[in-house]
Subunit: 295 residues, 2 copies
Amino acid sequence: MESKRYYGVDVGGTTVKIGLFQDEQLLEKWSVPTDISDGGSHIIRDIVRSLPGPADGAAMAVPGAVLPDGTVNRCVNLNWGVCRPGDEFAALTGIPCRVLNDANAAALGEQRLGGGRGHESVLFVALGTGVGAGVVLDGHVRAGTHGAAGEIGHLCWDPSEAGAPCTCGRRGCLEQYSSATGIVRLAVQAGVTGLSCKQILDGAAAGDPVLEAVADQAFDALGWGIAAAAAVIDPEAVVLGGGVALAGEYLRAKVQAAFDRFAFHACQGTPIYLAALGSDAGLIGAALYAKDAGC
Amino acid sequence: MESKRYYGVDVGGTTVKIGLFQDEQLLEKWSVPTDISDGGSHIIRDIVRSLPGPADGAAMAVPGAVLPDGTVNRCVNLNWGVCRPGDEFAALTGIPCRVLNDANAAALGEQRLGGGRGHESVLFVALGTGVGAGVVLDGHVRAGTHGAAGEIGHLCWDPSEAGAPCTCGRRGCLEQYSSATGIVRLAVQAGVTGLSCKQILDGAAAGDPVLEAVADQAFDALGWGIAAAAAVIDPEAVVLGGGVALAGEYLRAKVQAAFDRFAFHACQGTPIYLAALGSDAGLIGAALYAKDAGC
């Protein structure tokens, strides 16, 4: 089979990460700043200007919902409304370009070449400012009818939550407990102010009893949420990524224990791994998506 | 394309329903009693004895977990342990026979020819003695790694549930609220004894305030559970089947409202339909599964 070149592009709110791949191998990577002025209308042009040459295909991971036809339905962090950035990229470069959600791209990268390697059906959970997830079944990303598959951050963990509502407007969403902001919020509720999520989890791992109780609240909610997702798709494996997952084995083991407690018996013991590709997961997954599409 | 004949078999705890199909058309159907004596070892032979003649393929829906290779991992209601009933059927008849879970078979039937007709990705929810579900994505049943995909009856709705535990041993599972037995349990908790699930829902629909409050508890939990599943797979449509769903439009409208209240914004408005194939859904779905497999 003839070898082909692909661009994998991961558009974040402050930086766009770009990689040039030969088949599944990363040849080089670089980044450009994300200019969200003028409704984010400079972003694609800035990406295209940075490209070193032609390629056979490309895919772009974006922080928002992507419909099955490649239409983006709002990326708040990029100031994008409804748009078709893949078409703009293709028009400027002549390179066919697919678009997918960034958590879905990371899911595909981690399933194929990262923490989920060797498993065909993987739930990837991204623990950052929010909680997102990507669903890969039989090696293919499942984006869902409205691009909302894997939105487990908005599973309702506690409908009686008395604190401030979630950014989505409802109460008790999983990400109010298990995201970086959620963990800081739980610490404040426990009387601990001024600590970052990393400081809280470091303190918990070091045995501080108050911080440990905070971490356990976050991990219990997350284990419950992953168990709920497993009861729907019953994946072979789960991969935890995003900044919060840098807490590493301490977090992984606690989440696995909470998962096994909440999971339907047939799903208990489904292995939960840590992500392995770091911040490259999105651009790697995007390149794999372009390759799978046979661009 | 040459027309082919398939048997669709739906093995229940008291009756086996069998249909002979030409392509997707039901030619005739009949049933045989389920003899669960001697570890359920007579069941397949009794089915085979009732068949009117040869066919190109068959599939058997069973009330238990089915692994991707067709191995059944216990059917409590049939007294089956780990076994391969499709192989036994094929050895006795010479007809290749696939095996799938009964809720998954009903899901495929309802998606293709029933309440979900016209939609490729459907969550089918079976409301009976328990709460089960089947997941059909892009027209294909997704059984999951351990045959547990769609086990939403064991989503944990209320971890603080103080009553008796669920049959699975944990507390607060969705089916403790939204199954027929769950609804009767809620009525007893509300001080109403001696009524069947049907009588409770009939009374609720007729405006009895105590029974209405019981029904609303059941529908809220169900709407929440379907919203959780939608946040994972984001289907095009949801179909409600099983005996409890015979409460009809009263139930459907209430569950749709609860779903819309709990669902992630992108999934709100996902249509919820009533099942249309009644108790034939399983045998129809089994026949479609045999046909899709190209038996």
